[in-house]
């Protein structure tokens, strides 16, 4: 059972499920390999690799849906009969309108490279050493934590409507966290990270960037409170968006009335210079793929077009309930162990741009925020947030001055109207692809 052809397993299980009494069936089969090196307080704390097969079966009997999973691809008879039994026990879902139908799959580049599939833990240790060596060059820096992770995922999705898809993908993520210490003062934890699909992140680069940031946090001055322009890093913006905007555009939340954007398609929801697109086929994007986790093609969805809300993101089930097509945003967060849920792919932010230096240069009195804490406490339905900004810098007559922790608060859906400018250099952080964004006015409490 070594070299399993996962597509064959999928097809076989769909057939067996139908024979067992399911009226529809969907099978997700995967082979996963995860490798990770974890650094803690300057030592390598954990080096681990996991290779796993997995299968998740959605069996439908009439309008009753059952879900089972296993990490063994043998003994499938028993699993299939469980799936059908679970479906029969489940409630009749009057909204169930069937599994997705096959459609044309786009061609995308840059989602897999053999080199990453074959990378060894030892190579990753050496990469971590590179980062640690750079951190060692800065006398004020104390390494706190870090990780390099490489995943290779081979997945197949087969359903009884004729979807038969297979793909192989590689992913690599790395982050480093440090503090700087000098004269009895310790800076807040500074973080930098990188998301790649076809190479291992450059650890020297991450280490240098995070160390420079931390050192520049030393000698803090007191910020002043008030409403002022705030420049958010893509990391800070991604955190704020995850618990607000990403919830509001999710068709499941829209259908259940839990989204701020219910009934707002066609309305002005952001500054007219702001465009946001969910692009699941963007070359080099971390969440780029040919198809989503229920076999629907990935696509480009214009969410906000020059300030106007154009679309939500959906899977097949909630798309139908809202009278729209699936946008190819079904994701199994827990892999084979979970059912598909709606999640963004790559959220590309477009705005007028300038060099970051120039943006900073033009601010007389403001704040630059690298990272926020407590974004998860935001209220996704209203958009209200109150977060600690750390590290952050005062922008005073175009110059950066370190400051201690300050609070930022406001309503995320409101401040979208005040997104003014973005830096020319953009990067991917989580789902977001953006640069530093200048917001004309945010409430700051020092």
């Amino acid at each position: 059972m070594n070299e399993v052809e996962i597509l064959d397993v999928g097809k076989r299980v769909v057939d067996m499920s139908l024979k067992e009494g399911a009226s529809e069936a969907e099978v997700y089969v995967c082979k996963v390999s995860r490798k990770s090196i974890v650094m803690y307080m300057g030592s390598i704390k954990m080096s681990q690799s996991v290779s796993e097969n997995g299968i998740g079966i959605r069996a439908i009997v009439g309008r009753r849906v059952g879900f089972v999973y296993a990490n063994q691809l043998n003994d499938l008879d028993r699993l299939i009969s469980k799936a059908v039994a679970v479906a029969r026990t489940s409630r009749e879902d009057e909204n169930w309108k069937g599994l997705p139908e096959p459609s044309e799959i786009p061609h995308v580049n840059g989602i897999y490279v053999k080199r990453l599939e074959e990378v060894t833990l030892e190579e990753l240790v050496l990469k971590m050493y590179e980062g640690m060596r750079i951190m060692g060059e800065y006398k004020e820096i104390v390494p706190v934590a870090g990780e390099i992770r490489v995943d290779c995922l081979e997945r197949a999705i087969v359903n009884s409507n004729g979807i038969e898809l297979r793909s192989k993908e590689t992913y690599s993520v790395a982050y480093l966290e440090v503090v700087a210490r000098s004269k009895g003062y310790t800076t807040p934890v500074c973080l930098d990270m990188a998301f790649e699909r076809t190479s291992i992140p450059n650890m020297e680069h991450i280490a240098r960037s995070v160390c420079k940031k931390a050192v520049s946090c030393l000698k803090p001055e007191r910020a002043i409170s008030g409403k002022m322009p705030v420049i958010l890093s893509p990391i800070a913006l991604d955190e704020l968006m995850e618990y607000t905007l990403c919830e509001a555009i999710n068709a499941e939340n829209v259908y259940h009335g839990r989204s701020y954007y219910v009934g707002k398609i066609g309305e002005n929801v952001a500054n007219e210079n702001l465009t946001l697109e969910d692009n699941g086929i963007l070359e080099g994007g971390f969440f780029t793929n040919k198809f989503d986790d229920e076999g629907v093609p990935h696509s480009k969805t214009l969410i906000i077009d020059r300030g106007i809300l154009r679309s939500y993101i959906a899977d097949t089930y909630y798309g139908r309930l809202l009278g729209m097509r699936s946008t190819g945003n079904a994701t199994r967060i827990g892999g084979y162990k979970s059912l598909p849920k709606i999640s963004p792919t790559n959220l590309v932010l477009r705005m007028p741009t300038e060099e970051l230096d120039e943006i900073i240069h033009d601010v007389r009195e403001g704040l630059l925020v690298e990272h926020v804490e407590g974004a998860h406490s935001s209220n996704p339905e209203s958009g209200e947030f109150s977060v600690v900004a750390a590290p952050a810098w005062i922008v005073r007559n175009g110059e950066l001055v370190a400051t201690k922790r300050v609070m930022l608060s406001g309503n995320f859906y409101d401040i979208l109207n005040r997104f003014e400018l973005m830096s020319k250099e953009v990067r991917q952080v989580g789902h977001l692809i953006a640069g530093y964004v200048k917001i004309s006015e945010v409430n700051v409490v020092a």
């Binding site: 090196i37 954990m46 290779s51 879900f67 089972v68 999973y69 799936a83 240790v125 640690m132």
Partner: protein, 461 residues
């Protein structure tokens, strides 16, 4: 399974590992989510896999696989070995571990009804009954109720290069219900979390009627409740609040990995930090506790970890590594959520030991204070401060339990609060919950009723 684990350990030994252990898991689990009498989701899962951990020259390597062939296991061991070797080149503080004598053991679960043998439809029916009773008893006030149910039957296998070979069964059945009520403009939320290690006996232990009543009592109490006065007051803490406090506020500080990286008790061993009435232990032997087992995931015999005895810090909760680091006896606190992750130091059944007082005696002599009966949620910080929200609280007036109080929270410094304990009752209750530390662990906590001279009460109207 055991032969595959032995095969893995032998390869590691031949490669030159100073220590190697292999773990296997074979588990079945079911989850059910019911909201307002509607079954939202049912899922069933079956997991089987092996992991191997190798120590070479003071560094760990870890590798796991679900592919149970000799080839794949050999590959995993070599990978773990190679990376340990690489990582050992730059180790600041080489890992040392406690090694143990050879043992062969099989531990069977004392499960009364194997949840895997119960048809899912029966479980759904039982949960729906809870919802039906709750809606019929709480007609006027109950708005929504959500119940999450989970059961799992696990066989853990362990083989180490010390010639230890252990097979251990364990079973967890867990249920949590959230209910919200409303009366006029007032909202109330109640939560109840229960469990057993004896299989599908959860509704025999607590009938649906008892759970529903409990949720509604809390809701009704909150709806007619007054709001707390802010400030410091004497308080009687119920077993559920004591358990939460002991776990969240104190327990995490006494997990050796956190303690040794600088928690508030790192330099307090042997010192008095609590009043004479306070004895806190993490006890893996309490019948039907979520944290009751004979061996941990490092194959170590579990033993009672005495954390505080009569006010004095006695020890910490250890894994093999931290015990070796400070020359302590390993306590068997290493637990892994599943086969594919490394074990971490986790609590088991963390409790405050009983005292001599009757519960009534605790209330005597309190002119005005609060009775904090059950908690909603809370957090504790490594610096030794805590905030705990209370879902069921009452005023104490002239030694008697008085009006219910809502939106109440307590906060303060854990060690200062432990110093203020001035009476401990002789009753005892155990609670069931889940604790997150990167991985989820099923834990119990509990204790008797306890009186505190003063505790900082907050709240909002």
């Amino acid at each position: 399974m055991i032969d595959l684990l032995e095969y893995a350990v032998n390869i590691a030994r031949e490669l030159g590992a100073s220590f190697a252990e292999a773990r296997g898991e074979d588990s079945e689990s079911m989850r059910i989510e019911v909201r307002d009498r509607v079954t939202k989701a049912i899922s069933y899962g079956r997991i089987k896999g092996i992991s191997v951990r190798v120590l070479y020259n003071g560094a760990w390597g870890f590798s796991a696989t679900s592919i149970l062939s000799k080839d794949s296991i050999k590959k995993a061991v070599i990978e773990a070995y190679k990376v340990a070797k690489k990582a050992s080149e730059k180790v600041r503080e080489p890992v040392r571990i406690i090694e143990l004598p050879s043992v062969k053991d099989e531990v069977h679960s004392d499960v009364l009804v194997n949840p895997a043998d119960v048809d899912p439809s029966e479980k759904v029916k039982d949960i729906l009954e809870l919802h039906n009773i709750a809606f019929s008893l709480g007609k006027e006030v109950l708005k929504t109720i959500r119940t999450d149910y989970m059961d799992m039957m696990v066989i853990d296998y362990y083989v180490s290069s010390e010639d230890r070979c252990i097979v251990q069964e364990r079973c967890i059945t867990w249920i949590r219900s959230w209910a919200t009520g409303k009366l006029g403009a007032i909202m109330a939320v109640a939560r109840e979390e229960l469990g057993s290690t004896k299989g599908y006996v959860i509704f025999k232990k607590w009938s649906q009627e008892r759970i529903a009543k409990r949720l509604l009592d809390i809701i009704k109490g909150q709806l007619e409740a007054t709001t707390p006065k802010g400030g410091s007051f004497p308080a009687v803490l119920g077993p559920n609040v004591v358990g939460t406090f002991v776990h969240e506020a104190f327990g995490h500080l006494a997990e050796a990995d956190l303690a040794l990286s600088g928690s508030a008790i790192v330099d307090k061993i042997g010192k008095k930090i609590a009043s004479d009435y306070v004895t806190i232990v993490d006890d893996p032997t309490i019948p039907d506790g979520f944290g009751t087992f004979k061996y941990d995931h490092e194959g170590v015999e579990t033993r009672v970890a005495v954390l505080i005895e009569k006010g004095v810090v006695k020890g910490l909760m250890h894994n093999r590594e931290t015990a070796a680091r400070i020359n302590a006896t390993p306590t068997g606190n290493a637990r892994a959520e599943s086969y594919d992750v490394m074990p971490l130091i986790r609590m088991r059944n963390t409790i405050m030991e009983k005292g001599d007082y009757t519960v009534d005696e605790l209330f005597e002599g309190i002119k005005f204070g609060y009775y904090l009966k059950s908690f909603r949620g809370g957090q504790a910080n490594l610096d030794g401060t805590f905030q705990v929200g209370i879902q069921e609280a009452y005023e104490i007036v002239n030694g008697e339990v008085g009006r219910p109080v809502r939106n109440m929270s307590i906060s303060g410094n854990t060690l200062e609060t432990l110093m203020k304990v001035d009476a401990v009752a002789k009753d005892f209750e155990l609670d069931y919950g889940r604790c997150g530390k990167g991985q989820i662990a099923f834990v119990s906590s509990g204790g008797p009723h306890v009186r505190v001279k003063s505790i900082l009460v907050g709240g909002r109207s």
